[in-house]
Point group: C2
Chain length 449, copies 2
Amino acid sequence: MEQLAKSRGLRFLTNTNDLDHWGRDWTHYFPVNALGVIFPKTVADVSEILKHCHTHRICVVPSGGRTGLVGGAYATQGELILSLSQMNRILDWDPLGLTVKVEAGVIHETLQDYLRPKGFHWPVDLAAKGSCQIGGNLATNAGGVRVIKYGMTRRWVQSLTVVMANGKILELNGDLEKNNTGPCLRDLVIGSEGTLAVIAEARLKVTHLPRQCLTLFAPVENPAAALTLLQSLRECGAPLLAFEFIDKASLDLVLKHCGDPNPFGEFMSDAVLIDLETTDVSDVYAKTALDPRTILGESHSQVQKFWHYREIITEALDSMGFVYKHDVSLPQREIPRFLKTVDQEFSRRFPGATNFVFGHFGDGNLHLNFGYSAKDPDGRRLAHCEAANDWLFNLVHQYRGAISAEHGIGLLKRAYLRFTKSPEELAILHALKKAMDPHAILNPGKGVV
Amino acid sequence: MEQLAKSRGLRFLTNTNDLDHWGRDWTHYFPVNALGVIFPKTVADVSEILKHCHTHRICVVPSGGRTGLVGGAYATQGELILSLSQMNRILDWDPLGLTVKVEAGVIHETLQDYLRPKGFHWPVDLAAKGSCQIGGNLATNAGGVRVIKYGMTRRWVQSLTVVMANGKILELNGDLEKNNTGPCLRDLVIGSEGTLAVIAEARLKVTHLPRQCLTLFAPVENPAAALTLLQSLRECGAPLLAFEFIDKASLDLVLKHCGDPNPFGEFMSDAVLIDLETTDVSDVYAKTALDPRTILGESHSQVQKFWHYREIITEALDSMGFVYKHDVSLPQREIPRFLKTVDQEFSRRFPGATNFVFGHFGDGNLHLNFGYSAKDPDGRRLAHCEAANDWLFNLVHQYRGAISAEHGIGLLKRAYLRFTKSPEELAILHALKKAMDPHAILNPGKGVV
């Protein structure tokens, strides 16, 4: 590998500190074990590296901004880390087709900064935008807070340039909006967590920035009331950009974390944070059962503060003793019954813990966080929480949900695939993996295949 | 089969007239050869029929409204026609998730009639809406005139219940908006033209009806001018619902067909038909180079008339002597050069013919129609046009286009797959076919696999 790197003039790192830096994502559960990190500069470089790895049966972890939460970018088996971070050019802007072509290593925020002056955005909105890379967003089919309006990442991809495990370069879908010439591998590679092919370049679809946005911060009695509000917003045609739920425990936690008073005065309850693409909410006030304590964000700084509460929850949780995180999705209408069922058993199963619930209720995505005020020095709490996964995922399955709404499978959720994919689906996906990566060199042990 | 039909109480037809009716689509190029037509009433029926066919190696043509234009629903090899038309119930409406669950045989327009009073629509807009069925729309990933705003059919599908070739029933994606548990077979089955599995039920995503719509009918000098106008509309953020191009030859033809005067007076040129989701076009008039002869649709009947011109083109062409149709797509910015290149050779290659060009310019979709005023009694014109496909598809390939934008592959375009899919992609899709339908009983000879 060193020789190949040298001959192509590519950076190649092998010292322990570098491997430890490049070999992990935002989870910190696993020990890193990597062969090295190589930094291709072109699609041809990626192709040559994979050809070499294919021939010599060297396993490869395709690597982006490493902001994932399920260990999908970890090297744990002595793999080569293939970092796309030096392929970070914006290649083409097409104002007619409303697309932008990028290399996989472009930072999410860099792309938005490029598009904003033109009046456009790539409408995938993620907390990790400052460090995550487009290639990783695509490989994980990233979600975020505006899925209710714009859908998942998959919807905003026109075409991909991918490199197969054997080094072959494939152009998937050209630069076409319409192309009905059979099933497209593009949609398979998106969300496959680097297990089917390496995404090297992409042409992304963009759309106009929202013309206006109003933010409401509304107390709600409970999750059921949040959903009643959501339904009445939908019935009056409110142009929803985001509909985020924050339970009482999470709100209390972030207010303490920020040292801020309760914006609703004495009244502490669950809450929802709503963005609407409008300048007029009179209809919303007239036709929905908004709590009278609801606050309409009046200044940019006030709106920023409300969104800061939503975005800082994870940090506030991480500053607790120990927290175990879930990212599940359900049909929206099942959320209240599901949460009640969890509640019924929670204190018995997790004595001393609190279940902090927040997430993208508008699209059925709940983040459950089992938080303890004390640390977990001997890993017993982690083991206890992991042992309860079967219980939780069984419930998710009963309510027709998914064990991962937006984080993916990675290393962390491999053991639980049976709760979410049928044996028949898995058999088909394995046949596909075999056809695309016969020696199983791409991101082994991760994802579905 | 007769016994199976009897035992489950299913309609089963075998007489020649019935086979001829049920065994074809809107193309009329092929002779029908079918075993019979069976009409399942439930998902379990579909499963039992396929189990039987799988065991006895009986090939099956899944069949919807049969409005396709590439022979995808033809029975030509003695197949069993599996008509979903009696599975036509709307099963569930979810006002919270904004989805509707339907059986595959629901007529497109029936669904829209169901949704309209609620203020919603399934935003796939097709000329064949009165007879096409949802299952067929999904199997072909249908396009239509509002792709520029809403995208293709695939985008409006949440989950599928499909029956595999061996009779196994798979639920693909539950009822979930977000589900990041690896690649989803749902997106493979959509657009696979009945070759990978039979779509029995679907949960569809819906959206609010447009609140308002203004229609502009604008003369344009040529295709390049149409695209300049499109770009300036995009730059001023005009909320486009449709952007249709009609060339001079097509406009002249439909006006004569309808016996109407030229709406632009003496001036006859290419034209575009534009729908905008707004009540105010002052910005559009101020910021784009609209021809002063542009007509703003003032009454419902005037708007209907303009759209009638667009929709009646196919009928007007069919009333000519002979017409050979193409449905190609290109990156939008390549359209003018592509059309010029076609023009340069057209009269030499097709003496006596006219190339009628219209289509969904906004999403790069062109319908080219090689029309002759005389009939084609001996099939020589058809053979001549078919022989020229290599020339045309080579050009499409050179301009990075697709040989089918929305009609699919079916029987008609199988011979030309090499212009649009690489050998590597085809190999992967064949492996997938083998995993999903090992005896190749589903819609043989159609589509990609």
